[in-house]
């Protein structure tokens, strides 16, 4: 065993979003990094960093616990320092991308900036992916909600006008067209007006 294998960078993940943490962890190990610890909350965060001595900590930029890490880096230079401190060493773009993607990172001194960049890139990609997935999920969810609201409005119109469902829908659509409003907004208006008039059962 004479060949020296470069030591894999060790990473600690702090994320209260378990699904995202799992995706990031998988991607990290696929790229050859070693995730030595995954924390969901910051209880004992500073202790965990002291014990595990990671090369890098990846933490959600929206985490209220980031300021704890800020204090650590002040105490000794062995502790990881905020990634923004490295932004003037040729990785400003990468740091900017990270901040926009919601990733923040703390890095110990002496790690090559290209290794940091490569690792950051993996995290950024996964954070973006997760964000896209979640927006999609939310839009599906809100479409379902809209569907229910429109159905309710139709029901009220059917009851009030004593008409069938297609006629009620047509009435809603016509209102929306005439007022250049979205059908969901018209449906909401119909519901609130009917409720005001005590039409709701």
């Amino acid at each position: 065993m004479t060949k020296t294998v470069p030591k894999a960078l060790t990473v600690m993940l702090v994320d209260n979003e378990p699904a995202r943490a799992a995706i990031v962890e998988q991607a990290m190990s696929d790229s050859g990094y070693r995730v030595i610890r995954r924390l969901e909350n910051a209880k004992n965060l500073t202790q965990a960093v002291t014990e595990s001595q990671p090369d890098m900590v990846i933490i959600d930029i929206e985490s209220p616990d980031r300021d704890m890490l800020e204090n650590m880096s002040r105490l000794t230079h062995d502790n990881p320092r905020p990634i923004v401190m490295f932004a003037d060493e040729g990785s400003a773009e990468q740091v900017e991308a990270a901040i926009h993607a919601g990733v923040s990172a703390y890095v110990v001194d002496g790690i090559q900036s290209n290794s940091v960049n490569a690792l950051l890139q993996v995290a950024i990609a996964r954070f973006r992916e997760f964000h896209a997935l979640r927006s999609e999920l939310e839009s599906v969810r809100s479409q379902l909600e809209d569907r229910k609201t429109i159905d309710k409005a139709k029901g009220l119109i059917m009851k009030h006008q004593k008409c069938d469902e297609p006629a009620a829908y047509k009435a809603l659509r016509k209102l929306a067209m005439d007022r250049s409003q979205r059908i969901i907004d018209v449906a909401r208006n119909v519901i609130s007006v009917m409720e005001l008039m005590g039409e709701e059962s």
Binding site: D67, M68, I99
Partner: protein
Amino acid sequence: MDCAPFVIAQEKGYFLEHGVNVLLSKEASWASVRDKVAFKVLDGAHMLASMPVAASLGVGTVKTAMHTSFVVSHNGNGITVSNRLHERMKLYANDVSDLQSGTALKHLVSKRCSKDSPLRFAIVYPYSSHNYQLRDWLDKAGIDPDKDVQIIVIPPTKMIDYLKLGEIDGYCVGEPWNSLAEEQKVGKMLTTGFDIWGSAPEKVFGVNSQWAERNPQAHCAIIKALDAACKWVSQTSNQPELLHILSHPDYLNCPEEQLTSTFKAGQYSLSGQINQCFSGQDVNLPKPSYALWIMAKMYRWQQLAYVPALNDVAEQVYRQDLYCKIFEQAPEIASNWKLSDEQQQTWLDDVASSKVLRISQILSNQ
């Protein structure tokens, strides 16, 4: 709590009245505020008064030009200890002033064995008035903040819980977390930032200097709107409405009652006044002398090495010239605050060696 002027400027339509469309975003940490302003995710922010100084000097972050032309509030911090520590301090106190001054704490600390774990105090951010005020208070009582006690960072919302659980023995934090601890009977506030330093800027409207240069009109409009909001917030008759708005889920997301204690003056058992204020005599004027003060505190507590041109930095970060232009005031004459060449050499050390103890001495020292 002291973000109130921003909330009011939005809710009362002052931003729009001054022709600027502002989107407020709630940030979870001071580090996030700093990063987002530095990388222009945010154009400006309600920030710690020390933050534009730290960013402009590259203390704890990448060097980014930030400045303030408007101070949003003065004071608001307090030092609170747990009931348990308070009881133990009382054994070493002859009177209330021994508790307030930290003398009792000094006696208690010196009686501890070396194997006892050190007392833990919490602050919200290392580069903040909370940190410097707590350190100055300990130091004045003869307690070494780095050796005799441990200072850690905890988000303000978790302070009271940690105090209850005994994870920390005390903290220095802004309102409402001191009056709340008193009200919930989990701690005693011993002293205030105002008692320690005298009246001092606490939060400012800090901006990325590049943004401000490119958007002078928007910058000026925001400042005018904030000025109107600060006046509104200061009106006692507006308090019920203010608390109602602040408690909304979009803002502080807490019951109104949680905020009322901040405005009830004089209910503290031990300490004097918190003296949080948003408007009035020179409160909103960004005096460069405060930047000098903060640099000295950073130096005193080993966050900053030597700074060659103190006056220049102070002038570039605390832009009283812009404030005076906006409100058509005559700026403070330079000789009132500028350090002489000789003073520039000794200023940092003078503050560090406690030759200058209170902010007001900056002026009287000239």
